[in-house]
């Protein structure tokens, strides 16, 4: 069997998702947006903080979704990009006194560069091998952050404390609420940008690579360029999420960005539905709230309870939240008739 045949006959790693099925309808989007805008006015600061974290992890899962759902490449190393973004923001804010909002694009650009460079050697790998290579990146990151060489900037094992920004222009808002709306604005920008990216020529190139590399290259798609580009974009967005995370949590330390985070993000993507962008936020809610529910059921066995809940989700709705959304749409359609 030739190499070409091998690739062709190899089962598809990621199911093909048509690009229209990647987003929500306009009506639903507006309702969700209205809810996101209004709810914080009526809830406690703690809930607002949790919603902020939901958006931040949602953006990180979205980034992974572009990589895996869009271009068909796996990554277990997103925590590394998240950490680089978080440290970039924290260091710029605390050592260079740069405004928090300005640190985010820097975090994004640095992570894009790192992701793009990492994508170069990763080109030679695919499927589980690529997953393993990125896994190595995630395991190495906490140790790199501890290195004595960087300690002056990173604070070494003790981490760095970040100052939380106040609402600007004297707006009568708590820090939490301001940070929430700030995060929401960035999230919407990234979401809209991502949807447009996947609908563009580059997005079609990503998806053609996902569906069949050989066909894509024979149609003139520069496979290696687009593969590394997908890595770069995904890493860049993850970096912005990391920067936001550092500002919201007010603290960065090597122990915050272990492989557990990478696996959580991966989990969020699968639960939300691979390749379905709105699902990223459903998945993010899953990784934030379900461990709390599991802990409420049993403190000693929280891990096991979480495992059972996860298993149920995967077993009952293997395509994640997307499946529920499709069923919901069909029901709505039937009612209309």
């Amino acid at each position: 069997m030739s190499a070409a045949e091998e690739v062709v006959t190899e089962g598809q790693a990621v199911e093909a998702v048509p690009k229209r099925a990647m987003t929500l309808g306009t009506g639903t989007s507006l309702v969700v947006l209205a809810l996101l805008l209004v709810v914080p006015l009526f809830v406690k600061n703690f809930i607002i903080f949790q919603m902020t974290m939901l958006l931040i992890y949602g953006v990180a899962v979205l980034a992974l979704n572009i990589l895996t759902g869009g271009s068909g490449q796996f990554s277990l190393g997103q925590s590394a990009f998240y950490a680089i973004g978080a440290y970039t923001s924290a260091i710029l804010m605390e050592h260079a006194n740069i405004n928090y909002a300005l640190t985010l694009p820097v975090a994004g650009i640095i992570c894009f560069a790192v992701g793009f460079l990492f994508g170069q050697p990763a080109l030679r790998l695919s499927g589980v091998y690529l997953a393993l290579a990125t896994f190595a990146l995630a395991t190495a990151m906490p140790q790199l952050l501890k290195l004595g060489f960087f300690e002056h900037w990173t604070g070494g094992v003790q981490g760095l404390v970040v100052t939380k920004p106040d609402a600007p222009f004297g707006l009568p808002m708590s820090q939490d609420m301001w940070l929430y709306y700030f995060t929401l604005a960035i999230t919407i920008a990234i979401y809209v940008g991502s949807v447009n990216l996947l609908r563009s020529r580059s997005g079609r190139a990503f998806m053609s690579i996902r569906d069949n590399e050989i066909a894509a290259s024979s149609m003139g798609v520069n496979v290696s360029l687009y593969k590394t580009l997908a890595f770069g974009v995904s890493a860049g967005i993850t970096g912005i999420a990391g920067g936001l995370g550092a500002i919201a949590v007010q603290f960065v330390a090597p122990d915050s960005y272990t492989i557990t985070l990478a696996i959580s993000l991966f989990l969020g993507m699968v639960v939300g539905g691979v390749g379905w962008l709105p699902g990223s936020f459903v998945g993010s809610a899953f990784i934030i709230f379900v461990p709390n529910i599991a802990e409420g059921i049993s403190k000693g066995l929280s891990g096991a309870v979480f495992g059972v809940l996860l298993f149920l989700v995967i077993f009952l709705i293997p395509h994640g939240a997307r499946q529920i959304a499709i069923v919901g749409q069909q029901l709505a359609g039937r009612l209309r008739r």
Binding site: F46, Q250, F251, S256, E295, S302
Partner: protein, 406 residues
């Protein structure tokens, strides 16, 4: 006329202030305290890499159950709310906010881990919520000026290291020291304490080797240290690695003066697995009694502890140092809350925690006392040196204070 009028007014004002103060002093509450209940929050790694320490939270819960069964504190029951952070700082922030803003606890008590506590310190101090008796030995918790709402409990790693430095300067002033340390906040803090303690003679440290907790074996580091020909081996290690080191030393027939950190001085957890015959003559320092050590079987304080295990916490293992720890720290909190009387405000809790005088929890070594003041937020600062002999630790020398000068 005018003068007398003023004087009367002033006197009246003073009288009113006095009356209102005494009226207020009778009963005063902040969020989380009431006539019937005191809410105490806690964060523990019940899951994740440090889940072995989760026992501390369970012991504390059992201890508070015992106090409640005995009628509570001044008639108020303790409601202990403990959450899991999986040893992850962002999760610790989420849980701390949940405790303060959603459960509305009076204090956050004994949250575990240096990274997790660093992450929540600024938030809790900003909210003026006590972060009381944190479960970490980092030195930075004793900083009442910058963080008046944060207080440690156990001796800091640096003060313990000072004690070894003092001992070595006195007993072996010409020794060359080899140090094996864990490459994290614990190991580095400790190494700094050792160097500071040796002061001008820090050059006595001839070799330093660090290891990562992810390494399966530390044999290579030990062989390297032996090759440098040092006469003193200081093992700044967590239990699993301390036991490996003791075994390896016996295996390669190397017999330097061996000091293990207090973290790994547990007879049940380290010495026994490493073998009694390999552990003779090892030095360490302690502040708490070891549940595995038979010399405390008739000690009144330890009897109370064993009684508690039998009646209130049968699943607790007396050999586990975390159980002894949880008991001691929970007892200290109960003492502070008793001292608060009916003034259960957050400010008063901190004030009382900073006025402990010669308090001796049941599980601390005889002679070791908890003392705090408005400028001293380090409750336990004393330790005693000990040498392993036969099947138990022999305490020797005076109780030494490792108090840090800064």
């Amino acid at each position: 006329m005018l003068l007398t009028g003023l004087r009367t007014a002033a006197l009246a004002a003073v009288a009113i202030v006095c009356v209102s103060q005494s009226a207020l002093a009778q009963k005063k509450y902040d969020t989380g305290a009431s006539d019937t209940e005191i809410k105490i929050g806690n964060i523990m790694p019940y899951s994740g890499p440090a889940s072995a320490y989760g026992v501390i939270g369970k012991t504390e819960q059992a201890y508070f159950n015992k106090i409640n069964a005995e009628g509570g504190i001044n008639g108020r029951k303790i409601k202990f709310i403990s959450y899991d952070d999986g040893y992850s700082p962002p999760k610790a922030v989420e849980q701390a906010r949940k405790l303060v803003e959603s459960d509305e606890v009076l204090v956050v008590f004994n949250p575990l881990g240096t990274p997790s506590n660093s992450a929540i310190q600024k938030y809790l101090n900003g909210k003026k919520v006590p972060q009381l008796f944190v479960a970490t030995g980092a030195t930075k918790w004793n900083d009442p000026k910058d963080f008046p709402w944060t207080m440690g409990w156990q001796p800091s790693y640096q003060s313990e290291a000072h004690i070894y430095a003092k001992y070595l300067l006195k007993e072996k002033p010409d020794a060359r020291i080899g140090v094996l340390y864990q490459n994290d906040d614990f190991g580095k803090d400790y190494l700094k304490g050792l160097k500071d303690g040796l002061g001008a003679k820090a050059s006595m440290i001839a070799a330093e080797e660090s290891y990562e907790t992810t390494e399966p074996s530390i044999d290579g580091h030990i062989v390297k240290l032996k090759a440098t020909g040092v006469g003193v081996f200081i093992s700044i290690t967590t239990p699993k690695f301390a036991a490996q080191a003791i075994k390896k030393l016996a295996e390669i027939d190397w017999h330097p003066l061996h000091i293990v950190s207090n973290v790994s001085a547990s007879v049940g957890g380290v010495i026994k697995p490493a073998g009694f015959e390999n552990s003779q003559g090892i030095l360490s320092a302690a502040y708490a009694k070891d549940g595995a050590d038979s010399q405390w079987d008739n000690d009144p304080g330890m009897k109370k502890f064993l009684d508690f295990l039998a009646k209130n916490y049968p699943e607790g293992n007396r050999l586990d140092g975390s159980v002894v720890y949880g008991y001691g720290v929970a007892q200290t909190l109960v003492k502070v809350l008793q001292m608060c009387g009916d003034d259960l405000t957050r400010a008063n809790v901190m004030k009382q925690a900073a006025s402990l005088k010669d308090f001796e929890p049941d599980t601390l070594l005889p002679g070791i006392k908890i003392n705090t003041s408005a400028t001293d937020f380090a409750p336990i600062e004393q330790l005693q040196m000990m040498r392993f002999k036969g099947e138990k630790w022999d305490l020797f020398g005076d109780i030494i204070s490792g108090e840090l000068s800064n």
